[in-house]
Symmetry: C2
Subunit: 450 residues, 2 copies
Amino acid sequence: MGADRAGPTEGTLAVEPVKVALLGCGVVGTEVARLLTTQSGELASRVGAPLELVGIAVRRLGRDRDLPVDPSLFTTDAEELVTRADVVVEVIGGIEPARSLVLRAFAHGASVVTANKALLAADGPTLYEAAAENGVDLYYEASVAGAIPLLRPLKESLAGDRVTRVLGIVNGTTNYVLDQMDTTGMGFAEAVEQAQALGYAEADPTADVEGFDAAAKAAILASLAFHTRVSLDDVHREGITEVSAADVRAAQLQGCVVKLLAICERGVDAAGDETVSVRVHPAMLPRAHQLAGVRGAFNAVYVEAESAGQLMFYGPGAGGQPTASAVMGDVVAVARHKVVGGRGPGESAYAQLAVQPMAETVTRYHVRLDVADKPGVLAQVAGVFAQHGVSIEAVQQRQVTTGDGAGRAVLVVVTHSATDAALAATVEELEDLEIVDSVAGVLRVEGGDA
Amino acid sequence: MGADRAGPTEGTLAVEPVKVALLGCGVVGTEVARLLTTQSGELASRVGAPLELVGIAVRRLGRDRDLPVDPSLFTTDAEELVTRADVVVEVIGGIEPARSLVLRAFAHGASVVTANKALLAADGPTLYEAAAENGVDLYYEASVAGAIPLLRPLKESLAGDRVTRVLGIVNGTTNYVLDQMDTTGMGFAEAVEQAQALGYAEADPTADVEGFDAAAKAAILASLAFHTRVSLDDVHREGITEVSAADVRAAQLQGCVVKLLAICERGVDAAGDETVSVRVHPAMLPRAHQLAGVRGAFNAVYVEAESAGQLMFYGPGAGGQPTASAVMGDVVAVARHKVVGGRGPGESAYAQLAVQPMAETVTRYHVRLDVADKPGVLAQVAGVFAQHGVSIEAVQQRQVTTGDGAGRAVLVVVTHSATDAALAATVEELEDLEIVDSVAGVLRVEGGDA
């Protein structure tokens, strides 16, 4: 194996190995350990020094693990392990003990690579600041969209550009469920059961279907895209549990597909100051949109930037191997910094933008109403929209045959851009109209020109 | 404007500006100068120090340039300019004087950002080594696929993975031409004229339509993907000038689309040693393939890696603004290294893989034959394929009405994977068969499982 040809300042003379500690040995950890072992020659060439796996912290010893590593590397003492590593890979997940271990690693001069979106979205700034204070790296490419190189492009490739919007399908479970509903017409519950049977959804699918997972990722994406701090609490979150087969059919009739989107957009508040809107919710997306064709459990993120224009990144968003690929890319980067010096870009939060309240967020809406089929209904409904300043782009009315002989109809209204508050007030008033049986569905429409 | 919060080791105390010299002020250079000027506050926050534009080298002074910069910054003395910069942005293009100026910049301790694919593909190693010897950076994200963050992901995000294949639409001009032929049925010449009228093709479209531009990009992609040296001479190159309306129709009948692909694949030679195959040629691609839907002048690159799986990167592949976005991302990175120390990863060519001769390259083929319509023709044709060890996947025969009453038919043969040499020998022998009027078209079929 030849040495890295990167030049006299690096590689060829560095024979001291970089010590890597692995915290967690689940699906991702196992794969990371395997790659560290089986690809050691190639990795050494890329880093400029060998990577030495010095320990694997697990909850319990003695489990049969199908890994080609020295069994003595396993330990239950993660606190001790992090003190003797140059690079700590945290793939335990959750807030504690991950948080304390990462901080302890920093304090001992180790750089950290993590896939822990929940921790970053909940308490990122504490970690970013601790990394900076100790002059070490905190890398987390694997925390969003699995194997897809996304955070490094946002943080580094687009560092000379101005990102205006990020629109992402960042949760494979919900994309699988919605895709099944779209292609087969099945309902939400049935699609979730199928996803569970195939291993795409957990026994308790709450974190996915309620949008918590996507919201954590949205917070991370928004922070990077707009150079500002966004935490999980700043993210407006709606899951897909309320998406019905009727909603999916309604989307199809509009030439759209329903996707759970993580949306990060620049906005402006009433005082004219720049804001960011960060939200996760199901939305209709035109079938011609790049993201509409993302099938099954795949992830894709669409980025708009002032100079670059429209970019898209696509790939597997989860799974042991894809996630390990992202972790290992980060391991090579931070290990190389240990060998040749330097540090990757740290947190960039200079912009300090305010987060736009959801009520002020502007988007388009698709409103489906069950109404009486008689003259004057449309005028009355349109009047309510107008009264709240919500401009209508298109209306469709369809007669419905009912058993009792009363004339009923379905009225579909697609609006121009309006604030969430105006739309909510409109819907509330519509529900009180005598001619409206019910507001059968409200879905935001995304993917047009903002 | 707040300071970058990246920590005590960077940013806040560095008030010395980073001096940036711009070589060339064409479409891309103008946009780079504009961004350096109008985005100076944001850029300073991201770099940790202001970027100071110290000069713009142009061929002739006195032209009206619509740029908000001090006119005294323009100079015709590029050789002098590079000696007083920390970062040199080379957007002149071509081999000389770009090459000499880049080497001179390195010798004076400047890092270089370039969009010059021709120079890198022709003489990359000289530049990589000079950068390493001088301990400076050479970044070139803009050289391939314009605004799409692609080289950094390949070089850094996938540094812990093993890339097995890169399949890219990396030339917008030819993609526009082929897309027009596909959607309208027009011929090659007419589509090129239209591309010229719309500014998608140059007056002399040779570099694009003959595949030279894509070949330079393929050499760069293969070098990065496989950690080995690949130069322009190593790339097998075929342009799209021979692609006919009939080829495009034939592809449609197969559920395919014709694309000019840059292909970089791992292979194995007769001795069992690893090789790389790097080639640019038109190929049929199934419409279900991610790349098949890339329309107009857009670029997209599909990457397969062992752990990550299948990734795709999509966006604008050319144009002043998108290219400037990629240039500026690199400028921020190398300027930051000037401020906080460190260097990005240099050339990684440890793998030293041999380049597979095109004759040994394995792919599938679509062969269209004009034949006599009589019994035994298929057997005879199939015999020739078999004789050369080329296995047939599917055959279709279609009768053709001719004026002279003689029965003619079109025979379409799609093969399983075969070497280029075997296919070439097969075609040569087919052309000699009495029952074969002509071999009307041969196109490789890509995008299946290798």
